[in-house]
Amino acid sequence: MAQPRVTIVGAGPAGTRAAELLVAAGLHPLLVDEAADNGGQIYRRQPAGFRRPPAALYGTEAGRATALHASFDALRGRIEHWPESLAWNLRDGVLHVLRGERSHALPFDALILATGATDRLIPLPGWTLPGVFTLGGAQIALKAQACAIGRRVAFLGSGPLLYLVAAQYAKAGAEVAAVLDTAPAGARWRALPLMAARPALLAKGAALLARLRRAGVPVHRGVTPLRLCPDASGARLGGIAFRQADGREAVLDCDASGLGWHLRAETQLAGLAGCGFDFDRASRQWLPRIDADGRSEVPGLYMAGDGVRLLGADGAEIAGRLAALAVLRDLGFAPPAGADPAALRRRRQAMDRFRRGLAIAFPWPAQLVAGLPDETLVCRCEAITAGELRRSAGALDAPEVNRAKAFSRVGMGRCQGRMCGLAGAEILAAARGVPVEEVGRLRGQAPVKPLPVAALREEEA
């Protein structure tokens, strides 16, 4: 049988495990990734010349990280790896990839999108001030650059990453001003029945909290952030104004902050390919429609990892294997010995219960977003305020997010709505008085990320 053309986008946990399984079955996949090296964001490798051991970088996940890196290193030469390459468009069975200065049109028989996720954000007043980063960004500064984002760092948001990054900062010797969690204290207990699906993770969470307590880091639950305040110069972060659970207002003194409310799936390529999407109530976002193994409705297109279901890194490894097995079956290849898709699906189901538990324990504060003051810059790229977005909803009568984008420019900038899209939808829905799913999904537009006008067209074959 001729070698089918199988391509994977994303060299994180899902993409690596998918590639490994395809290679084991005798295929030679192409793996495209934007980063210089493999690992994705979660297991990102530090640059050459850095000396910290894996335990310092990945903590309790060091074993998983080194195993994934070892697996990837073993694949070198058996896959075609295009690092520093941007998959910027996808349609009609062709993936368009910018590699160096040239854009390549790559037809495929099967394509696995393992595009991961980014922080889900709330555009608080002042969030564009220097010193304000995403939680993921704060973690990358530490892991990949051995830097803290400031001298006195506060972490604000909700979700497991909030505590993880705060603990990593404390361990690395940074001063952590506080953890401000918007989730009410009782939410965790309500989520316990679902989260009990993964007791080991629950224990890890408890250990993180204990470490923060030992380090003397104050943890405030049930807070309502009011604004990120500038310092005396006006040109960088000086503090966070928030309302405590008991109603009192306070200002936390800090010069840097990591923000994040769990994750948002990176679904642009799936959208460009024409996949169907469903509104996922637990994560309050639109996710591509897939079957239990990651097949989309578009023939030849598969998805795995946080880019399609937010299960975390180990869930992504399982999803990557399942998607690869689905590809092999659909292309008529025998699975490698020992492959057990039924067992993988069972493990993923437990993870999915845990995921729904997380959404209860660390809820997205939709009310907070809906009520952001009019002067808040919602769209960082285009500097558009919540008031302008509300004017689109009201005076200009935009019933859904794409129309509101056309009128207001919210979501129209460089980031394609990655940073503001979910919050913008909440603001629009509240202004229209409808549930957020009724204002629809922000459609992606190529290029997935900024594409240089200097890009050259691949020579005609």
Binding site: V132, G137, C147, S233, A235, A383
Partner: protein, 104 residues
């Protein structure tokens, strides 16, 4: 002259790396080998650029190539995404104005 505002990022280790000399707004600056351009600039300064729309300085946000908030200009009029570009010796970065259109 006002003292320059303190840099944004604080190094917590890996200080053994070789220094890399570059130019920031016309002034000599030093980074370390393996730094991204974002790290190189923000361990020397408190911002990467000014917002095009007059709402103040920006200093990047996501550090993973998603938010596109950290694009900076070189003096020669090239655009670089600071979070994903390794710093190299001799880079000449402008954070206060955009040298566009370049007529060179």
């Amino acid at each position: 002259m006002n003292p320059a505002p303190p840099p944004l990022l604080r190094r917590l280790g890996e200080a053994h790396r070789r220094p890399v000399a570059f130019t920031l707004d016309g002034q000599p600056a030093t980074a370390l080998e393996g730094d991204t351009l974002l790290t190189a600039i923000l361990t020397n300064a408190s911002a990467l650029r000014l917002s095009e729309f007059g709402d103040g300085p920006r200093a990047g946000f996501c550090l993973m190539g998603a938010c596109q908030d950290c694009w900076v200009w070189t003096e020669a009029g090239t655009r670089l995404r600071a979070c994903g570009t390794p710093v190299t010796a001799g880079l000449r970065i402008m954070t206060k104005e955009a040298p566009w259109p370049s007529l060179g």
